[in-house]
C-alpha cells in the first residue's frame, strides 16, 4: 500500500493571544488524506485555517496537537520537503534578482547545479512563459508574472507534491486560466497538487476532491462530483432544438410525475465571455499593428 501524499491526523493549532488567557483556535481536530496524483482543494473563507494547515504540513508552523506526514515522513523533518514544491499566497521574491537568478538560487537550495540546473531553468522559463523576461529583475514583474515565477521555483526540483496557497489570488482572468491549465497539466504528469482557495468556481474546475474548512473545522470532504451532485435532478442540454420540440418535451414531463424546474437558454460563463472578448481585441490590435507595419 502506497503512503498518502499528505496525511493529517488530529491536527489542532492554537495561537496564544498576548495578555489573554484564551487562545485563538486556527485549526481543530483536522483529519485529511491526499492521495498521490490527485488535485485536492482546501476551501474556506478567509481566516478559516487553510494557510495555517498548509504551513503546518510544510513544517513552517508547529502543531499544538496531532501529526502531519508527507509521503509517510513526519513533516517536521526537513527531509520530508525533498518531495515538495510550495507557492505562498502573493509571493514577493528577492526583487533585485532576475527571473533566471531566482530559479538558480532555489535550484541550488535543492542541491541542483551545473548543466541539469541550467536545462531545468530553461525548461521552466519556457513552461511559465517568461523566457523573454528571464534577464529582468523581479522588481519590474507584474503580479501575474511573479505568480508564474513562483510556480517555476516550486517546480524547480521536479517535486512529487506541489502545495499552492491561493495560486490565482490577484491574477487577471487570462493568467488565472493559465495557472489552472498548468495545474491540470501537473495532474496529467502524476504530480499531486494540494491547493487552498476561496475561488470556488476555479476549484470546481480543477479539483478531484475538496475539503471545506470553516472556523478551523473540516465541515465537508469528498469527491467533488459526489458533493455537488443533486440526486433527484437531471439536466438535458440540447442543441438546435426547435420550439415545438421543446414544447413537446415539456408537455411529456408535465404528463409524468416529474416536475420541470426551469426552462432557459444555455449561457456561457462570464469568464469565457471575458476571455473571448479580450482575445478578439488582442487579435484586432495585432492585425492592425501588422497593417501599419506593412504600410511603413
Amino acid at each position: 500500500m502506497t503512503d498518502p501524499a499528505v496525511a493529517v491526523r488530529g491536527l489542532t493549532k492554537l495561537f496564544p493571544v498576548p495578555f489573554h488567557r484564551q487562545s485563538v483556535v486556527a485549526v481543530r481536530d483536522l483529519d485529511l488524506r491526499v492521495e498521490p496524483g490527485e488535485v485536492y482543494g482546501l476551501l474556506g473563507p478567509n481566516g478559516s485555517g487553510k494557510s495555517t494547515t498548509l504551513k503546518i504540513i510544510l513544517g513552517l508552523v508547529s502543531p499544538t496537537r496531532g501529526r502531519t506526514e508527507i509521503f509517510g515522513r513526519d513533516s517536521r523533518l526537513v527531509e520530508s520537503r525533498e518531495a515538495v514544491g510550495f507557492l505562498p499566497e502573493n509571493p514577493y521574491f528577492y526583487k533585485y534578482l532576475t527571473g533566471e537568478e531566482t530559479l538558480r538560487f532555489f535550484g541550488r537550495l535543492c542541491g541542483l547545479g551545473g548543466a541539469p540546473l541550467k536545462n531545468r531553468i530553461n525548461e521552466l522559463l519556457t513552461l511559465v512563459g517568461l523566457t523573454k523576461a528571464r534577464k529582468r529583475r523581479l522588481g519590474t514583474y507584474s503580479k501575474g508574472m511573479l505568480q508564474r515565477i513562483g510556480l517555476a521555483q516550486a517546480l524547480i526540483h521536479d517535486p512529487k507534491l506541489v502545495v499552492l496557497d491561493e495560486p490565482t489570488a490577484g491574477v487577471d482572468p487570462a493568467g488565472s486560466r493559465e495557472i489552472r491549465d498548468l495545474i491540470l497539466d501537473l495532474r496529467r504528469r502524476g504530480i499531486t497538487v494540494l491547493l487552498s482557495s476561496h475561488l470556488l468556481a476555479q476549484a470546481q474546475e480543477i479539483c478531484d476532491r475538496v475539503g471545506i474548512l470553516a472556523d478551523g473545522v473540516l465541515v465537508r470532504e469528498g469527491r467533488l462530483q459526489e458533493l455537488i451532485a443533486i440526486e433527484n435532478q437531471t439536466e438535458l442540454v440540447i442543441a438546435d432544438a426547435s420550439p415545438p420540440l421543446v414544447d413537446e418535451i415539456e408537455s411529456l414531463i408535465n404528463r409524468s410525475n416529474a416536475k420541470l424546474i426551469e426552462r432557459r437558454k444555455s449561457t456561457t460563463t462570464l469568464e469565457r465571455l471575458f476571455l473571448e472578448a479580450t482575445a478578439k481585441n488582442d487579435e484586432a490590435r495585432m492585425s492592425n499593428d501588422e497593417r501599419i507595419t506593412k504600410q511603413k
Binding site: 492521495e35 498521490p36 496524483g37 504551513k55 510544510l58 513544517g59 513552517l60 508552523v61 508547529s62 509521503f71 526537513v78 527531509e79 520537503r81 525533498e82 518531495a83 514544491g85 510550495f86 505562498p88 499566497e89 502573493n90 509571493p91 514577493y92 521574491f93 528577492y94 533585485y96 534578482l97 537568478e101 538560487f105 532555489f106 541550488r108 537550495l109 535543492c110 542541491g111 541542483l112 547545479g113 541539469p116 513552461l127 511559465v128 512563459g129 517568461l130 523573454k132 523576461a133 519590474t140 514583474y141 507584474s142 503580479k143 508574472m145 521555483q153 526540483h157 521536479d158 512529487k160 487570462a174 493568467g175 491549465d181 497539466d185 496529467r188 504528469r189 502524476g190 499531486t192 488582442d282
Partner: protein, 321 residues
C-alpha cells in the same frame, strides 16, 4: 508594472510519470544531506548579492572622501601630527562604518524575508533553519570583510601617498644636509607613517563588526521590525562601550563576591565589552599591541560571534513563521 503578453502562454511539460513513481524524493535533486555547505553557500551568495544591489557600498565613497579631505586639511601640521590624526580619523571611521554596516545590514535580513514571505519559499525547500541563518550571517560577514578590505586599502593608499609626498619634501628641503641626517629624517617620516600594529588593529575592527552582526541577528530573531532591532542595538552599542567603566566602578564600590562576579558575567554576555575591541587609541599613540593582547581580543570576538549566532539559531528554531 509590465506584462509581456507574448510571453503569457504556459507550455506543456514534456514528460509524464505515474503517481508515486521514483521514491519519496524528486527525480532531479541530489539526495538530501543533513548539512550542506552548498545550500549555505547559495544563501550566502544571495545575501551578499542582495546587500550589494542595495548599494550599501556607497559608504566606502564617503570613507574615501573623508580620508582624502582630512589629509588635505592636515597638510599644514607637522608630519607626526598629520599621520597621527590621519590614523585616528581613518581607524575611527572604519570602526564606525563597519559597526553601522553590520547592524543596519543584518537588522533587515530576517524581518524582511518574513514580511515578503520569501522565507516560506526557502524553508519549504529541504533547508534546515540553522543553514538558513548560517548563510545569512556568512553573507553579512563577507560583506563586512569586503568593506574592511576596501577601506583598509584606501587608508594605506592615502597613508602611502602622504608618506611619499613628505619624503620628497624632506629630501628637497634637506638637499644640502649630510647623508646620515637625511636618512635619519626619512626614517622618522616612515616610522610615523606605518607601524606594524595597524594591520592587527584593522583585524580587530573587523571582528568587532562580526560580533555586532551576530548580536543583531540574534535580536532580529525575536524582533518584529527592523526599527526595533536597530534601536535595541544602538542601546547595546553604547552600553557595550560604557560597561567596562561601569564594571570597574561597581567592583570598587561593592564586594567582589561570587554573586557579583556571576552578575557581571551575565551582564558581560548580554552586553559585550566593546571597549575591549578599541585598540585604535593604542595604535594612534604608537603603543605596541602585544601578540597576547591581539590573540586574546581576537578569540573574544570569535567567541562572542559564535555564541550569538548559536543563540540566534536556538530562538529561530522554535519561531512560528
Amino acid at each position: 508594472m509590465t506584462n509581456d503578453r507574448n510571453d503569457l502562454t504556459l507550455q506543456r511539460f514534456p514528460g509524464r510519470r505515474s503517481p508515486g513513481e521514483g521514491g519519496n524524493a524528486s527525480t532531479l535533486a541530489k539526495p538530501y544531506r543533513a548539512f550542506s555547505v552548498g545550500r549555505i553557500g547559495a544563501i550566502t551568495v544571495n545575501t551578499l548579492t542582495e546587500l550589494t544591489r542595495l548599494k550599501v557600498f556607497y559608504f566606502l565613497l564617503v570613507f574615501a572622501l573623508l580620508l582624502i579631505g582630512s589629509s588635505m586639511f592636515m597638510a599644514q601640521l607637522t608630519f607626526q601630527q598629520e599621520f597621527q590624526i590621519l590614523k585616528d580619523v581613518s581607524l575611527g571611521a572604519m570602526s564606525i562604518f563597519t559597526s553601522l554596516l553590520a547592524i543596519v545590514a543584518t537588522a533587515r535580513l530576517i524581518p524582511q524575508d518574513i514580511e515578503d514571505r520569501t522565507i516560506y519559499t526557502i524553508l519549504a525547500k529541504p533547508v534546515p533553519r540553522l543553514e538558513y541563518l548560517l548563510g545569512k550571517i556568512a553573507g553579512v560577514l563577507l560583506l563586512l570583510a569586503i568593506g574592511t578590505l576596501v577601506m583598509g586599502a584606501v587608508f594605506f593608499l592615502v597613508l602611502y601617498a602622504r608618506e611619499q609626498t613628505l619624503v620628497h619634501v624632506t629630501m628637497r628641503q634637506m638637499a644640502a644636509a649630510p647623508r646620515e641626517q637625511i636618512d635619519e629624517a626619512l626614517r622618522a617620516v616612515r616610522a610615523s607613517a606605518f607601524n606594524s600594529d595597524i594591520l592587527p588593529g584593522i583585524v580587530i575592527i573587523y571582528l568587532k563588526a562580526c560580533l555586532l552582526a551576530a548580536l543583531t541577528l540574534f535580536v532580529s530573531t525575536f524582533a518584529t521590525t527592523n526599527i526595533f532591532t536597530i534601536v535595541v542595538m544602538a542601546f547595546i552599542y553604547f552600553i557595550g562601550h560604557l560597561q567596562a567603566i561601569a564594571r570597574e566602578y561597581w567592583l570598587q564600590e561593592h564586594s567582589s563576591g561570587w554573586i557579583s562576579r556571576v552578575f557581571l558575567a551575565v551582564v558581560a554576555l548580554i552586553f559585550p565589552d566593546l571597549q575591549a575591541f578599541n585598540l585604535v587609541d593604542d595604535i594612534v599613540a604608537g603603543t605596541a599591541i602585544s601578540l597576547g593582547l591581539f590573540f586574546k581580543t581576537a578569540v573574544l570576538g570569535v567567541f562572542y560571534t559564535t555564541i550569538y549566532t548559536l543563540l540566534a539559531a536556538f530562538v529561530f528554531y522554535g519561531k512560528e513563521l
